[in-house]
Symmetry: C2
Subunit: 564 residues, 2 copies
């Protein structure tokens, strides 16, 4: 009974703070009564396993040093001023309950989903009550020792070695297989499956579209040449222990031609970014992002690069630093001359991901812990607005479309509620206001991605992290003119145990590819579903032994041109 009371208290605490009161919340008594006296010890082997489990499942939201970010801190003793109790106060039973059942606020139900076993959850619950292990540094020499150029630039083709429409290729992340599949978007043929390393997070296309860059959770960047037949890995480097973002130089103009010239790796740990040669991945410059947050001025050694986008109008990247809430505009025009120019803008905590408005002058990024979207005027290099949208916005890169009533809109879904917020982007009295919220039927949020295309009149929405297994399998399609929900699409029953995640249009904007993200040990639970955007009918299912845990899909043309 005591365990359950603690769980109730702890859940109450968490939910209370997250704005979703479900009764029985008594933070003061919890922190006084709830101190656990149980001794905690792990063997070296258990500690190493727990550390890896933590890295795989927890560090993204809670931080490697467990100081908290999207999720609360997970330190043995609560830091001063934190509304969350220490893990020693929660105790093993309560922590296990959280990991097993998740929370409506966005914590996944790792146990109920069967992703973590009871034994693993017990291990994690004990690990979390010990102090976090320190993060080792990573120097340039470490990166260089991992750097491999498989095909030197001079040995690469000077024109495509096939007659395919490579601008409509899709790169598909096969997350738990540690691979990326290249699929011809015209013919739907699988062209290549490339080893990329652990849990690729995203792909980015070079400005020309010729190259794909992958970034793995393990900090490895790979470079894939789509002109080769078949497309092949031409270079790789490990630039971090934990990473989420990669992008490329996209500017050509008065200040130089940087098409396919540089790449940038944005790391969680160590907290830094690395500027790479775009054609070889040679590391050129490392910049640390540790700093002081914009609100309390607390020092975060672990100030992680949450996301990066490349400007089309200036030679710069927008680098979003999660913990400090700073947006760094990183000008790369001087890299060859040994200089990097950075505009550090105070924005909001904790920054996550985002995308351009339709003019590509403004970048909109989620400060998800504050339920806000920050609008950065990248041309004027200043924060233009900060907009409250809903509970924990998760835009991916968001979606841009024109609506007859509201003009040009940029949209985001939410992890923590069932709404899509539409922000007006045209100059005028409504600019940077939420002019409309679209509602998803049913309880809770869980939306990871939304997507549209200039040639489509549909806004596509997933709900991958909803707690309801049925809603996890559902895709929602709204009409961008009427703003009505026009269709709910479900993963066919022939593909069991899968969640629907991530949507991508083809180059022409008349097809939408959706991942059915299943179990890594059973190909039949995985698929790519291809829908006709005009009829909203399922027109093709791609499956295969190679198709394991597909997540993100990246169309070359749309990715290179930031079409979403």
């Amino acid at each position: 009974m005591n365990g359950y009371r603690l769980v109730g208290l702890a859940l109450g605490l968490l939910l209370g703070v997250w704005g979703l009161v479900i009764g029985c919340r008594q933070p003061e008594t919890a922190s006084e009564e709830g101190v656990s006296a149980e001794p905690i010890s792990l063997t070296d082997e258990e500690f190493a396993r727990a550390k890896q489990l933590f890295f795989n499942y927890c560090a993204g939201c809670h931080g490697t040093t467990r100081r908290g970010a999207t999720g609360p801190h997970l330190l043995p003793e609560a830091p001063e001023g934190s509304p969350y109790p220490g893990t020693r106060q929660l105790g093993t039973a309560a922590i296990k309950a959280f990991i097993t059942s998740g929370t409506p606020g966005g914590m996944p139900d790792w146990g109920r989903q069967g992703i973590l076993s009871e034994e693993e959850i017990d291990l994690l619950a004990r690990f979390l009550q010990l102090p976090p292990p320190p993060i080792p540094p990573m120097n340039l020499a470490d990166m260089r020792s991992s750097w491999k150029v498989h095909v030197p630039v001079e040995e690469r083709p000077t024109r495509p070695q096939h007659n395919r429409n490579w601008r409509n290729f899709f790169g598909v992340v096969l997350r738990d297989a540690g691979k990326v599949a290249i699929i011809d978007g015209d013919t739907k043929e699988l062209l290549s499956v490339i080893n990329t390393g652990f849990a690729v997070h995203i792909l980015r296309s070079s400005a020309s579209g010729r190259y794909f860059y992958s970034i793995g959770r393990d900090g490895k960047v790979t470079l894939i040449d789509l002109w080769m037949d078949p497309p092949a890995l031409v270079a790789e480097i490990k630039g971090a222990y934990d990473a989420r973002s990669v992008d490329v130089s996209k500017y050509r103009g008065r200040r130089g031609n940087f098409i396919d010239r540089y790449a940038i790796l944005g790391a969680y740990n160590p907290p830094h970014f690395v500027i790479l040669d775009g054609l070889t991945l040679e590391p050129l410059k490392i910049i640390r992002t540790s700093g002081y947050d914009v609100n309390e001025g607390l020092f975060y050694d672990e100030a992680r690069v949450a996301s990066i986008v490349a400007s089309h109008h200036d030679p710069l990247w927008v680098v979003n630093v999660k913990e400090t809430g700073e947006v760094w505009l990183v000008d790369y025009a001087g890299v060859a001359a040994g200089k990097v120019k950075i505009d550090v803008l105070n924005a909001e905590q904790f920054l996550h991901d985002g995308g351009w408005d339709h003019t590509k002058r403004y970048f909109l990024v989620a400060a998800n812990n504050k339920n806000k979207i920050v609008v950065v005027d990248v041309q004027e290099k200043e924060v233009e607005a900060i907009v409250e949208t809903g509970i924990r916005p998760h835009p991916g890169r968001g979606a841009n479309f024109y609506n007859p009533t509201y003009g040009n809109l940029w949209a985001t879904g939410h992890l923590g509620d069932n709404t899509i917020a539409l922000i007006a982007t045209d100059p005028g009295p409504n600019q940077w206001k939420v002019v409309k919220k679209l509602e998803l039927p049913g309880v809770g949020g869980g939306t990871l991605f939304i997507k549209t295309h200039p040639k489509s009149r549909h806004l596509w929405v997933d709900r991958t992290l909803n707690n309801d297994p049925e809603l996890q399998r559902t895709i929602y399609v709204f009409d961008t003119e009427t703003l009505e929900l026009v269709k709910e699409l479900k993963i066919p029953e022939s593909i069991p145990q899968a969640r629907a995640v991530h949507l991508e249009f083809n180059q022409n904007g008349d097809e939408v590819w959706v991942s059915a993200w299943g179990r890594k040990d059973d190909p039949s639970t995985n698929a790519i579903l291809i829908y006709d955007d005009r009829t909203l009918e399922l027109k093709q299912i791609i499956q295969g032994d190679w198709l394991i845990t597909p997540t993100g899909k990246f169309n070359v043309y749309n990715t290179a041109n930031d079409i979403y």
Copy 2:
């Protein structure tokens, strides 16, 4: 005997690497044979004392985390690739010998000078064989809690409350007294002695000259209002645990009027800089300087702000990061709007101090461990040149003068040799070349400061850190036209046990003030010596019970206008 052999080996190692071989150097055998097996232990009280001694005497050159900078690392085990042995390999006897006797390379002879006792040296020698203690963070709240505005802006006078020529006031650092004296440069009267905290490193004048800012080794900035009668402390803040630099905003022009608007504190530890309100010292923005060095790409958490200068032509500060060898040009025009723009330039390790050329377009800074001066073109925001000058250049801010043969020159002395290097600054084939070296008589360097003035034809040079007590007391005067040594001046014998350190002209450029830096427990060993710059005769000696350990002296007009 074994102890002496080790000392010989260790000295040989150090000197070999520093380029001054004195026989018997056998690094390979030393690292194999020299491993000490003696057990090391300190009581908590001993450890705390040793830590403070290390902070006071060693951390400046070796770093708080003891990874090395101007001096070698002092870690128990040598880092990979380091030419210096670990302190455990050196052992207690060898380390004690170094601390007692110093090295010709620049390590002071703390024992022989009587600054550290035998017992303190023994304590340090043991402390250095244990791992360095971690550096705690310092958050904005810590700074705010130390922040005091003694006289609010609205209660300060709107015009000077005295009829003195305050632009010729001198601020004199009374280092070990923890005070700053304000002296009227016209009348030589002592106006005020102000408590500033531990070991003030420098003063800077606000752009108007009205205010002095002090920065202490303890990270405390004080603000002194010279319009008050007497001049008084009006605000203070502790923005670090260890610091060396402070400067002000000096720009007025198209991009705004920043006269007396901001100050900046450059810290050693934590490694950051803090932008402060110039009139209240309120902390506005903290930026971490941890990073990766420009040569090997090694990560330095302790990447310390070595020095800062303010541009007169642009709204920016030049922030020199010691360990990484990066020069950061920090644009402050957007601070009020929540943005800071930083140009990160790859320069050279390990950066120390420097000053403007006569046009104030170029900033010249010592990379003292590489025996080089880096020339930064602050207008074009790039490294213009890197010039080898001599062994461990220590320019202070250097000295600018016109010579009929070589044109405009910028000069630096050296810690490690007896030369003054003259670098041509005018455009042409000789620009940024060492066109001439002036030699100081006698063995060894030890020069900390050199100084001249546009109205003087003399270049003044100290030799404070020379190992020879007689040379420590000597000031050298060169003719800037003939480049001949025209006079050697010695501290009068009536002031025993003092070293000559730091030279400062008065506003008119016809007087030079020199510190006789003596013992903190005996005022008679301390003085300010005032020389007539035309006759080179000693015209006045300032002494007093208040005049304890004078070091830097800062004339308001010359400091505000960067005249040196």
